[in-house]
């Protein structure tokens, strides 16, 4: 079941105790009161179609309500007592996404404060899958924390804190955030999935998380959480043996962490995502031992290692000097020819490669080496790069039909004596076994 969200600004799901109901509701109520009178008469008289509504079992009503967006459900809840009861059934309140926006920055989609109040008073113990989507303002993030603090009766299975525009949770006073978050950690005791990227979560709060949810935690996403240390995340890996998905920044990665994730008691890891981000040029990054990566691969031979690099060109020194089991590799900023050469040498498990920008020297040898040695490669995307047409054809020939995704901007391909742009699309299509064209930008 998907999470429901309120559209528009009017949420009047206040049940029977609403004071300010919109026009539509009033109309519906008067209609219904007429209807129910008729119904009573008809029930006494003979069987007619109108009376079937009353006989509709609550489970079917529930099923229908699940198809309605929240606002429509709220209107429906004001039709009669039975429908109001259905509206408040626990099953409809398992999922909720709180959208918190300030009128100044986003005047449309926000969860109505009255609805929030109602959820906290009537439904907090029904909530299981909850997320908070906040805009760029600190007030929204604080509001999210306030709600979190009140979810004492909640036994959440999933929790997501999503800051859409800016890391607004980072602006909330740290103690306020931590105390709100730990309310959930302590009370839930069955957290399975936790997404807390861009938040001020710290080592002590991770300890609380682990103490209360170690048996159930399967997914943890905490990219860009600057207050966590390698020791903090190691504590999670050491005790949450069911952890299958983990996302964090490179500075938290350590040999110990990888070994902990590969320990016998640990389940197979499915997905590890690492963001390697440099805030200022000249940053220094530590290295991970090959033996640690080897242990990971031995323990979880099918796991995906996703690495996002946002580094300046001269910061790649510590990387790709030895074999690394990366499967999805993404270079968000400019990356040099030399580094791409090393990728070809040391990334045998590579499945997907995206290069946003490289420079104006052709990547011919590097691509061919990648084709030869990354035998699992099935997707590649090249942005601001250059490749000669002949080398590109050679690359595609070597990869063959395993290339299911080939996203190359037209301006990447440099025509040479062997191939022009028109000819290349034929050659490539031939080797791929399907019609292929480079991506283009329209001339506006």
């Amino acid at each position: 079941m998907k999470m429901k969200r309120i559209k528009g600004g009017e949420e009047d799901g206040n049940g029977s105790s609403s004071e300010s109901s919109p026009e539509a509701c009033k109309k519906v109520r008067t209609q219904t009161s007429e209807e129910s009178e008729e119904e009573e008469e008809e029930e006494e008289a003979s069987e007619t179609p109108e009376s079937d509504w009353v006989r509709l079992p609550q489970e079917l009503l529930l099923h229908v309500f699940q198809y309605l967006p929240l606002l429509d459900r709220a209107y429906a809840s004001q039709v009669c007592r039975r429908w109001n009861q259905a509206f408040h059934m626990p099953e409809l309140w398992r999922y909720f996404e709180f959208e918190l926006n300030q009128p100044a920055s986003s005047y449309l989609k926000a969860t109505h404060p009255d609805l929030i109040k109602q959820i906290i008073t009537r439904h907090s113990n029904h909530l299981q899958y909850v997320s908070f989507k906040v805009d760029s303002s600190t007030e929204s993030a604080e509001a999210a924390c306030n709600i979190l603090s009140q979810l004492v009766n909640c036994s959440l299975k999933t929790l997501g804190l999503i800051s859409t525009a800016r890391p607004s949770f980072m602006e909330v006073p740290k103690s306020h955030f931590i105390s709100a978050l730990t309310v959930v950690f302590v009370n839930s005791k069955s957290l399975s999935s936790l997404k807390i990227d861009d938040t001020p979560v710290d080592d002590p709060s991770l300890k609380v998380l682990v103490a209360n949810n170690r048996d159930t935690l399967k997914l943890l996403k905490m990219s860009s959480c600057p207050h966590v240390s390698p020791a903090g995340i190691l504590c999670v890996a050491d005790q949450c043996y069911g952890l299958r998905e983990l996302a964090l920044n490179y500075h938290l990665l350590s040999d110990e962490l990888l070994l902990a994730l590969s320990s016998e008691k640990h389940v197979h890891l499915e997905h590890l995502r690492i963001d390697v981000v440099s805030e200022n040029p000249g940053q220094h990054f530590h290295t991970i031992k090959k033996t640690s990566w080897d242990a990971m691969v031995r323990h979880s031979p099918k796991f995906n290692l996703v690495m996002y690099f946002f580094l300046y060109e001269d910061e790649f020194g510590p990387f790709f000097n030895e074999e690394v089991p990366v499967t999805h590799l993404y270079f968000g900023r400019s990356v040099s020819k030399e580094v791409l050469g090393r990728v070809g040498l040391h990334c045998p498990r590579l499945v997907e490669l995206v290069v946003c920008a490289n420079g104006l020297r052709p990547l011919d040898e590097e691509l061919i080496r990648i084709a030869k040695r990354c035998t699992q490669l099935s997707a590649i995307g090249l942005g601001e790069c250059e490749v000669s047409c002949s080398a590109f054809v050679e690359f595609v020939k070597l990869c063959g039909r395993r290339l299911s995704q080939l996203s190359i901007m037209e301006e990447v391909l440099i025509p040479d004596h062997k191939y022009s742009l028109d000819e290349i699309h034929w050659e490539v299509s031939k080797h791929l076994g399907r019609v292929w064209f480079p991506d283009m930008m329209p001339t506006w």
């Binding site: 198809y67 100044a104 920055s105 946002f310 995206v354 946003c356 301006e411």
Partner: protein, 522 residues
């Protein structure tokens, strides 16, 4: 039978290659060339001052050309559905001609007018000459769907053959039996619009860079065709977004308003290409016209083409609503000089190079500000001289990676992109003079300049010029994730769920539909 005919100018503001006008002249004794100032289209929200000035110029030019043929232009104000019945009666009209337009508003307006015409026993005739090809035919050739890739469209165009050749403008010979009854107070009743008529602040007008009108368009066409070497080597992406004067033809506004016929342009190019080595579509000048055709076809074949919601090819993305960001972008105060200079040129002149459009469109949407492309579309519609419903919608979706294009990791850097073609930032200095004393090293990123440098240049970031509205490095990283999520959601939504909105099914045309289309008078 002899006719009293109204030829209705909407787009197609020209006399050359105007088959509908020629059809009006057949068996005609009285001709009324009419332009309707429709409050729905011509108001100060939809039309910026530059666009308005261009239109006024084009109408004056049209009137001038008609006078040479002993005719005049009648500018009528009001809603077409209210204006026409009056005119039909007053002038005793028996025939109405117009150039076919595919925009949704045009189609519904023309439908209404056709019904009214029938009630007044007026014969209605339209011709296709705004696009190279008959768009509906193009869609038929592609099994009832609009092609979603440029290359697919090129393949269809190959099967259709070259576009029809343009026809010449009417001559005095064609007009010899035709009269345009003109009263003495023609100027009062059907006067040319004034610059201030829509309520714009005319004091804000800059110098006119691109005067509207058919004569001007043909003159520009001649001038550019003379540079044959340039034309043959033309490759649009190699031209510069920030050269000080336009590095492309800037014939687009004339094609948009119909002052220049697309077919005329096409065939003049063909003449020049003949026998000479030339660049190929999509980057060649022929390619430009085919791109226009591509988006027109998409706009007809895809429902709700100018919106995200209800548009079956458009990725549904959770764009942010952020009036502050949008205003900063629109008003050229994002703190990124390259972006702000482009938006300044746009507002002042009504034209920016297409790579400049890419840069600001990417910046507003998936690159940095994460605001819906529909907002950008509105701003361009108002300010761009060549703002065209179909092209605007199509290009915005393309640049925001919402449709047609999916390489969302290819983001234009608001700092690096402009530097490639203009290291010194001369373009920035021209349109943002307050930055002109900044050294080249900092002109694209003034916030990095040391305080002393800023002071020496008389431009303090945060005081004289805004701080950058977003940290490009940080936010583009986040946005790529959001885009990835939107794409992932696209494939899971397709799997179906109870709360999914009903998707729009594009059905194959029925035999009846196809027969009806073929019946349409051409």
């Amino acid at each position: 039978m002899v006719h009293t005919c109204v030829h209705w100018f909407r787009k197609g503001l020209r006399l050359h290659d105007n088959p509908a006008l020629m059809a009006a002249l057949r068996d005609c004794q009285e001709l009324y060339p009419v332009f309707i100032l429709d409050p729905h289209l011509h108001n100060d929200t939809c039309v910026g001052i530059n666009r308005w000035r261009f239109l006024v110029g084009a109408l004056r030019d049209l009137d001038c050309s008609l006078r040479k043929l002993n005719s005049r232009l009648f500018v009528v104000r009001g809603k077409p559905e209210e204006v026409f019945p009056e005119l039909f009666d007053k002038w005793k009209v028996t025939k109405l001609t117009y150039e076919y337009d595919t925009e949704p508003y045009s189609l519904s307006r023309d439908q209404t007018v056709t019904t009214l015409a029938k009630e007044h026993r007026v014969e209605v005739l339209y011709k296709i000459s705004h696009t190279l090809y008959d768009i509906d035919r193009m869609i038929e050739e592609n099994n009832g769907k609009a092609p979603l890739t440029y290359n697919r469209m090129r393949a269809i165009v190959k099967t259709l053959g070259p576009p029809k050749k343009p026809i010449p403008a009417p001559t005095m010979e064609d007009m010899k039996d035709v009269k345009t009854p003109c009263s003495e107070n023609h100027e009062q009743k059907y006067e040319m619009p004034t610059l201030g008529e829509l309520g714009h602040d005319t004091a804000a007008l800059g110098e006119e860079q691109f005067p509207g009108g058919e004569q001007e368009s043909l003159r520009r066409l001649d001038e550019h065709m003379k540079r044959t070497g340039w034309v043959c080597g033309f490759e649009k992406p190699q031209t510069s977004p920030n050269s000080l004067s336009p590095s492309t033809t800037v014939l687009s506004p004339y094609v948009t308003f119909g002052c220049l016929s697309a077919r005329t342009f096409w065939w003049r190019l063909a003449e020049v290409y003949q026998g000479k080595k030339h660049s190929d579509p999509p980057v060649s000048l022929h390619g430009q016209l085919l791109w226009r055709e591509f988006f027109y076809t998409a706009s007809v074949g895809i429902p709700n083409f100018n919106k995200m919601e209800g548009n079956p090819v458009c990725t549904q993305v959770d764009w942010d609503t952020n009036p502050e960001y949008l205003a900063a972008w629109r008003e050229a105060r994002t703190g990124f000089p390259f972006i702000d200079a482009i938006m300044t040129q746009l507002r002042q002149e009504g034209w920016i190079h297409h790579l400049a459009r890419h840069a600001v469109a990417c910046f507003l949407t998936r690159g940095d500000l994460w605001i819906s492309w529909e907002e950008g579309q509105k701003v361009f519609e108002e300010l761009l001289l060549d703002g065209d419903w179909a092209l605007n919608a199509g290009n915005w979706q393309w640049l925001s990676a919402s449709a047609f294009f999916h390489q969302f990791f290819r983001v234009y850097s608001p700092v690096a992109f402009g530097k490639k073609t203009d290291k010194n930032g001369d373009y920035i200095k021209k349109y943002l003079p307050l930055l002109k004393k900044l050294p080249a090293e900092y002109i694209y990123e003034p916030w990095k300049a040391p305080r002393s440098v800023q002071q020496a240049a008389g431009c303090i970031v945060g005081k004289d010029y805004p701080h950058p509205i977003a940290q490009h490095e940080v936010i583009s990283k986040k946005n790529i994730q959001r885009m990835k999520l939107a794409y992932a959601k696209k494939s899971t939504d397709a799997a179906g769920s109870p709360s999914k909105k009903k998707s729009v099914k594009r059905s194959a045309p029925s035999v009846v539909d196809m027969l009806r289309k073929k019946d349409r008078g051409k």
